[in-house]
Symmetry: C2
DNA sequence: GGTTAGCACTCGACATGCCTAAGTGCTAAC
DNA sequence: GTTAGCACTTAGGCATGTCGAGTGCTAACC
């Protein structure tokens, strides 16, 4: 039994199953692909593949379907990433150009990716760490309530309202703003935390506690807030592939809503040499996503923020991987160096 | 045939059907409710209700289920809004307190409402129109790219990056900022538009076109942007009530993603005297939502922003209406006067 | 040794027919 | 206006039979 042909058979099974959604049998296989051998031979190969745990039969006398392990082998060794069509490339380019607003760009990107792949698409907000502080604004909303705004050079704006714990007047807040801004303008967000204690300690004691609260918020804004969010599109595609999630799409929707889960999953995924990371079925630890695969990659200056799609394990991996990679590249380009 | 009993029968049918999800027959009706008459009498009443188009039979020899019109009558005339339990009230209160960030509050609110009702919950960002301008910031990102930030007194922040069409230096942008801020600080967002031409025309001719672009963005930020967004939670609940959307939940998910549709629907809904608006099934014009009902109400100072839930027409209206109303009240209170 | 043909066997999918329970509509009596 | 009774309809469950796709195995073949 030749090893190359065995892999060829696996490839054929994956492709046919992805295409037809039905277990594929030995006879159909020799008909659709010109493998040059008879169905009996294929049967032997299939038995071997089943022993290896790469395919499985839903029941006796049905065809075989790939297992998670089978998809994994397919993705890693067999498939070639299918390049996008010229039309698709043009569509991406034209849709993504013509807007500068970050929210808007991400929104368009994710819709585009979802249409391209017919799956759910997600994109994480870009990380801020390489940006530097452009401006800080404190706005007094009530005697103790302050709106804190942090503006970074990348064009990102974070804001939050806090209770500073003591009454402050307009003058006091203006003084604090000048003080913070003078000390912090121009430094990078990643170096914000070490700078804050110095700034706070040089504030007059009467406003020390307020300054402390403000510093804490600034730190939070710089690190946690926005980049922990994501934009999503195409959840309706889940319903269309109803059949692919045998139980219900409920758990999948739950996982999608619990963004923390998705974010961890995205960042835990190891990057493939081809630049795309793939998580197949139970490879990810979340029960709700046991029947789902995620194809993702990084984008932006240092590829820390993620973009990807989520769909049933029975997914057209080569095309999806190509789409994710292409969209990520365009997105990186749009967002600038 | 007594008219009051007919309504009583309709009420019983709605309640039983909502409870059991199965067509309800005359016999089961007299057993579960003590109507004081025999099943034959009920049959006569049911025939009359069917003539009125309030109930319908899926097939001969099955029980009856309410029509959209039947639900409407039920909601308008028969049902009493069911007050929330003490525990529920406490849960709402404790969950919503303890956070000042608007995004955070809306997020918690919508999750809470979705859990309370077991449906999809949506909330629209509060309107800005009553707020006044607190601060305007222009940040030069590149020679022609400017980040425009608009901070309102309500604690809301809007931002966008634009291309001003001409090269500007740091000095020029600072001058523009001072000029805009001096003329506009303190005016209400709703009066922003009429003020802008004057501001632009008093800018030196060399920067006129840039000022024009900036003014245009400010106008957009003040009116359109954020309040046209919404937060959503509980889409997984749709999947659980799979049975209730006979075809597929796909179209519903699509409608939910196309937020424009939802926003229009929410604002078009007429408020009920009891303070909650209800749209039942095909009463709303969107095909994807033909099997869905929306229960919504306004919140905030002048009740212009909406909050509501969406679920199958077969929904527990009294409880849902109570939940929506209660959560809207707490939310209004949290957001302040 | 790998490949092939042939054959018995398994099992899901589908159709058919039958039966029961639920429920209706109608009529005649109260 | 209400009720009892009865004939009628129909979905759904169940048993049965048939068909076809597909497998696994063995023996023959190159």
């Amino acid at each position: 039994m030749s090893e190359p042909r065995k892999l060829e058979v696996l490839r054929a099974i994956v492709e046919d199953y992805v295409h037809s959604r039905e277990p594929v049998g030995s006879k159909a296989l020799v008909e659709r692909h010109h493998l040059g051998v008879s169905s009996a031979t294929i049967r032997n190969d299939m038995a071997a593949l089943e022993d290896d745990g790469l395919i499985t039969a839903p029941h006796t006398s049905a065809g075989r379907i790939p297992t998670d392990k089978g998809y994994r082998l397919f993705v890693d060794q067999i498939s070639a990433v299918k390049p996008l069509s010229q039309a698709e490339r043009r569509a991406i380019q034209s849709l993504l150009e013509g807007s500068d607003d970050l929210d808007d760009v991400l929104d368009r990107t994710v819709r585009m990716l979802s249409q391209l792949t017919n799956q759910v698409a997600v994109v994480q907000y870009p990380h801020l760490s390489r940006a530097t502080i452009r401006h800080i604004e404190f706005v007094l909303l009530a005697p103790r309530q302050v709106l804190v705004v942090l503006i970074a050079t990348t064009g990102k704006v974070e804001q939050r309202v806090i209770d500073v714990g003591q009454d402050l007047g307009d003058d006091a807040i203006a003084a604090l703003r000048t003080h913070f801004l003078g000390s912090l303008a121009g430094i990078s967000l990643s170096r914000l935390t070490p700078s804050l204690p110095g700034v706070v300690s040089s504030v007059s004691p009467g406003q020390r506690s307020a300054a402390q609260a403000l510093a804490h918020v600034l730190e939070t804004l710089a690190h946690n807030s926005r980049e922990e969010r994501m934009v999503m599109a195409g959840t309706a595609n889940l319903a269309r592939s109803n059949v692919d999630f045998p139980l219900s799409i409920g758990p999948v929707l739950e996982a999608l809503e619990e963004q923390v889960v998705l974010l961890r999953l995205l960042s835990d995924m190891a990057q493939d040499p081809r630049g795309v990371a793939v998580s197949i079925g139970r490879e990810n630890p979340y029960d709700g996503l046991a029947e789902a695969s995620v194809v993702a990659t990084g984008y932006g200056p240092d590829s820390t923020a993620k973009i990807g799609v989520l769909g049933p394990t029975r997914m057209d991996y080569p095309t999806t991987m190509a789409a994710v990679r292409a969209v990520a590249r365009y997105l990186s380009r749009i967002l600038g160096p």
